[in-house]
């Protein structure tokens, strides 16, 4: 049976909570309700109120409490109801969790995960559509993952829960019920820090993550008819970046573009372009191009949202431009 991206997340939580009693969940409306998106559906019924804790609307508390329990040996998985609200827990993430091990002389571990439903394309408007990964990308001590498929959503969440560092897990809510696939019956993990080539090609590389992966794969199909063999690299982990997979692909195709749903200015794409420029300049046959959201807020009206967000057509147009070099 095919499993949705949302169900994959749910299964990962179930499996990890069954495997390790140190794993517990905390967040807003995750218990009886099963989460605003139903990611924790059934977990409360199975594991009870001590391991699925409904908190007040207090993001700083959710993150801070997870940190306190984590340093004492638990493995909390905290949920932000929407990734947009993570700003209310910002200080706890970047100043408390990210620095903890460093300032305790390497003798502290912070094995915690913060799940945050992110992303636009669902008519969420300014405060239910954000992609806040770049705010944290600048913060050493954190790890950031952003799965694009149901397989990766499950495998990465399981790895994140088992990891001994604070992991921000950005799950794209546009994908929750829109994508599904057959998942292995047996247990599997997807390692943190490893990008994956989701489509091999020789003419041009697209580096992407999150829901933009699916736009890139669609664009690649269109471009195939124009004799352009696109290679699509899905980062999966954003911090730290898998530089080797990025650079190997660049060296193979010599042309590269970065596509993400987050805004262009200050986005991950700029850093990737800089890495390629510094470490593989001599392999490039053209500039590193970017397709990303417009530098504005995630506006509500469908016409505005369509203008703002990347789509298949915008990727195809940019790829044709790059192909001319």
């Amino acid at each position: 049976m095919e499993t949705t991206y949302l169900k994959a997340i749910n299964e990962a939580l179930f499996e990890e909570m069954e495997r390790d009693e140190k794993v517990f969940l905390l967040g807003e409306d995750i218990g009886v309700l099963g989460g605003a998106f139903k990611a924790t559906e059934g977990v409360f019924e199975k594991f009870g109120p001590e391991r699925v804790i409904d908190t007040p609307i207090s993001e700083s508390l959710i993150v801070g409490t997870a940190i306190g329990a984590a340093v004492l040996g638990m493995r909390p998985v905290a949920e932000m109801q929407f990734a947009d609200f993570i700003s209310c827990g910002f200080d706890q993430i970047v100043n408390m969790a990210a620095t903890l091990r460093y300032r305790h002389g390497g003798k502290a571990k912070v094995p915690m995960v913060i799940r945050a439903p992110s992303g636009a394309g669902i008519h969420g408007g300014l405060f239910h559509s954000q992609n806040p990964e770049a705010w944290f990308f600048h913060s050493p001590g954190l790890k950031i993952v952003a799965p694009a498929t149901a397989y990766d959503a499950k495998g990465l969440l399981k790895s994140a829960i088992r990891d001994d560092d604070p992991v921000l897990y950005f799950e794209h809510k546009f994908l929750y019920r829109r994508i599904k696939e057959d998942l292995p019956a047996e247990e599997y993990l997807v390692p943190l820090g490893k990008a994956e080539v989701k489509r091999a090609g020789k003419d041009m590389t697209i580096i992407t993550y999150g829901s933009a992966l699916h736009l890139c794969l669609e664009a690649a199909k269109i471009l195939e008819k124009e004799k352009l063999e696109m290679e699509v690299v899905d980062l999966r982990t954003i911090l730290p970046l898998d530089k080797k997979t990025i650079l190997d692909s660049v060296k193979k195709t010599n042309k590269v573009m970065v596509v993400h749903e987050d805004r262009k200015t200050g986005g991950i794409g700029g850093e990737i372009a800089a890495i390629i420029s510094e470490e593989a300049f001599e392999y490039l046959d053209g500039p590193v191009m970017r397709v990303a959201a417009q530098d504005t807020h995630y506006a509500f009206s469908p016409t505005l949202e369509e203008f703002i967000l990347p789509n298949t057509e915008k990727i195809v147009v940019k790829a044709r431009e790059l192909a001319r070099y």
């Binding site: 804790i53 700083s60 409490t65 620095t99 091990r101 002389g105 502290a108 001590g141």
Partner: protein
Amino acid sequence: MRLTREFEEEVLRLYKQGKILGGVYCGYGQEAVSVGTTYSLEKGDFIFPLHRDIGAILTKGIDPNILLAQLLGKKTGFSKGKESFLHAGDLESGFFGATSMLAATLPVAAGAALKFKLNKEKHIAVAFFGEGASSRGDFHEALNFSGIHKLPIVYVCENNFYAYSTPQNLQMAIEDLADRATGYGFKGMVTSGNDIHAVLKTMQKAVERARSGDGPTLVECKTYRYHGHSEHDMATYRTKEEVIEWESRDPIPRYEVYLEKKGYDLGKIKEEVSGKIKGVIDEAVKFAEESPYPEGKEAMEDLYATPI
């Protein structure tokens, strides 16, 4: 209390000699709070102290050598030179390092208490904060959650009446911060933070409550810092009379008077204690001064438990 004070006096000497870079924030005058609260705890309990709580750290049994090395930024300090002053801790000893975003440790302390509760451990968490930090949202979020779940935690407010230069009447419209506990469904207690016996007595009740599963207590200790917010602050926002008045309530002479009244040979005790303290401090200074600084490249270590 005397060890704490004399340790801080040594810290000040080193600071004036330029051996401690960055800021120094003293708890001078607040020793009864930091020592008295921590004295009431057991092994396995966790403290979340502030920059003015060297007393709590020493009372928890932390090695003064390592503490002083930490203050000097040496490799042998808790953070191996990575962070200044008291933003580092020793988790094995139950001492958590705060950040500069005061009140941010309160939700973390609630998390430690939650762990004790979930695992049915008899340990408790003690979280320190100044009255200044209570203006932040983290204070509200942590106390609210702790009240809901009756967490085994004691919130110790060191009310020294000034948040840097801002007096209490510009921070809140109430006199006793402990009153706020009512809004979170648990008990608030006010005590003299300059009387070690008062602190011990109040803490005993709060600790007992936390350990027996009856939930948190907010203990407000009224006290005073003799020095400025930090050593570069001349504290001109306070009157001389006010400082003198509080100096007359100094917790150390107060305890000495108590000992004398009880018939102890104060002279003998003081002499013995002085000798011991001098030995401890001299050794700490020697250890810290002789310890090396870390190498520059060590700045890249200890970021991740499992680096990728």
